[in-house]
């Protein structure tokens, strides 16, 4: 059994949602994760709030810190979960149920977690 990270990418992190909307999304996300956990395939996960986010770039070899993952970079990561799956296809099936995909332009990236086996 492999582990995969399902990385939720939002097209536009600046979009403001109402508290009711946020609550509804939270519920849907919890249902999605709960469904994976009910199959004993959930490993861990975390949301990545946009508040207090910083981006570090360099200019002439010096670090430059800007507020938020916004500005030039429009797309941003909203959270990730790690799941167990027999194959990448199974992980993709889990990803398809993620409510983030209901937002136009949002996407999910599925990446295998490197094993600590000296090869990866």
């Amino acid at each position: 059994m492999e582990q995969y990270a399902l990385i939720m990418r939002h097209e536009d992190g600046m979009k403001v949602a109402s508290p009711e909307q946020i609550q509804e999304w939270m519920k849907m996300t919890m249902d999605w994760i709960g469904g994976i956990a009910a199959q004993n395939k959930f490993v861990s996960g975390t949301g990545l709030p946009f508040a207090d986010a910083k981006v570090i770039t360099t200019k002439n070899g010096k670090p430059v810190v800007t507020n938020g993952p916004f500005g030039d970079i429009k797309e941003t990561i909203g959270g990730l979960i790690i799941v167990k799956a027999d194959s990448v296809d199974e992980a993709v099936e889990f990803a398809k149920g993620c409510p983030v995909l209901m937002g136009e332009g949002n996407s999910l990236e599925v990446r295998k977690i490197a094993k600590d086996d000296g090869v990866h």
């Binding site: 519920k27 919890m30 249902d31 994760i33 709960g34 469904g35 956990a37 009910a38 199959q39 004993n40 959930f42 996960g45």
Partner: protein, 408 residues
């Protein structure tokens, strides 16, 4: 109380107290001696009381006898001179050793014993056995009955566990404040298992089952009474036990058969325990760590409200979503799916249920049968039949047969 009931009753309540205090004094390596002294004291009562009559204060009488026997033991084994080498002379044993059977010392001793018995090096099953024997005063045959096994198995298990206490040099003491959280974890899980053993046990002995649950609650309450262990997760577990225990009278009919939640007579639920549970659940809602006991207690709380509502099931669903992330178990996965059906709709629940693939679990097929019942009688029947072929106990088979009959 008549004499023939009095001694077993005292054994249950006093044996563990005497053992705890003696172990505190003699060290855990002498646990067998402590048990022997306690047992001998009861034997003395059996031999003396029929002729001389029951003493005015039977407990105090037992304590005096236990103290004397303990002093004899110490003297005989010269254990005293080895333990407290050199400080005192052998001949001053009686004056110098104080066997303190005060209420406070008993409680301290039992609490420390609880931590010792639930030491991480002792296997969980042995922890429960030891707790039942040493902390609850259960007889070997009662423990064997509770675990549906024989006395030899239990004796062996207890023997190995006591050996382990000795070889691992486990000490009877209160864990230090920086250890308390890590040491508390196996204690709580043993109490949780102990309670469940009583609540879900297959044994026919109803009194024994309730005793197991009551003992788990008593030991849990020992932790609450001590300031250093009166912590949120401890209160959450206690709340969980209160909510479950409140349904004792309602969950079995007069033939001893299980009455399912939906069919229970609400008026038989123990309101006092529900209130107590709610009190400790609110006490548990401090700090920033949500344990599985918090989640399970909250789920149990919602079940104390019999009236069905979307709100109730939505809350239960979200609690199960959370619980499964902390710790997977097939039963939580099944209950989550049931909550999904109640909070949302049958179709959604069936889609999720199919993914679970718990194909060796009769509860899984019972759940599928329950869900299909609403939309497809044939499929419901197929699933109930699968459940029936997988079920082991007569009680389970009987329950499923009733469900099949109800379909026609």
């Amino acid at each position: 109380m008549q004499q023939k009931e009095l001694i077993p009753h005292l054994f249950r309540t006093e044996f563990s107290k005497i053992v705890a205090v003696l172990c505190k004094l003699l060290g855990l390596e002498n646990i067998q001696a402590a048990e022997d002294i306690a047992s001998d004291s009861f034997l003395s009562a059996f031999e003396t009381w029929p002729y001389k009559g029951i003493p005015e204060n039977p407990t105090a009488w037992l304590y005096v006898v236990a103290k004397n026997k303990a002093l004899n033991h110490i003297r005989r084994n010269k254990l005293f001179s080895q333990k407290i080498a050199g400080h005192l002379k052998n001949d001053s044993v009686e004056e110098e050793i104080e066997i303190d059977l005060s209420e406070k010392n008993i409680k301290d001793g039992q609490l420390q014993m609880l931590f010792a018995v639930c030491h991480p090096t002792i296997p969980p099953e042995a922890q429960i056995g030891l707790a039942l024997r040493i902390l609850c005063g259960f007889g070997i045959d009662e423990i064997a009955n509770a675990f549906l096994t024989n006395k030899e198995t239990i004796n062996k298990r207890l023997f190995r566990a006591k050996e382990k206490l000795r070889t691992e040099n486990v000490r009877i003491e209160h864990p230090s404040s920086n250890e308390i959280l890590s040491r508390l974890e196996p204690v709580l899980s043993t109490l949780y298992l102990l309670f469940n053993e009583g609540y879900y046990s297959e044994t026919n002995d109803a009194v024994l089952r309730e005793d197991l649950c009551n003992e788990a609650m008593r030991l849990n309450y020992l932790l609450i009474e001590n300031e250093s262990t009166d912590l949120p997760q401890v209160n959450a577990l206690y709340a969980l036990m209160c909510f479950h225990a409140s349904r004792f009278a309602a969950r079995k009919n007069s033939n001893g058969e299980i009455v399912l939640y939906d069919e229970q007579d609400e008026s038989l639920w123990n309101k006092e325990l529900i209130t107590k549970g709610a009190l400790h659940l609110s006490k548990s809602s401090q700090g920033n760590k949500l344990s599985k006991y918090h989640l399970e207690a909250s789920i149990a709380y919602w079940h104390t409200i019999k009236t069905d509502s979307k709100e109730k099931w939505e809350n239960i669903l979200q609690l199960y979503n959370h619980l499964l992330q902390l710790e997977y178990s097939p039963i939580a996965a099944l209950n989550r799916t049931y909550a999904l059906a109640k909070a949302r709709n049958i179709k959604e629940a069936i889609t999720e249920a199919v993914k679970l693939q718990l194909n060796n679990n009769h509860y899984y097929f019972t759940l599928l049968g329950e869900l299909y019942k609403e939309i497809d009688n044939e499929k419901a029947k197929d699933n109930f039949l699968k459940a029936h072929s997988l079920a082991v106990t007569a009680t389970d088979k009987h329950l499923i047969e009733q469900k099949i009959d109800a379909l026609q």
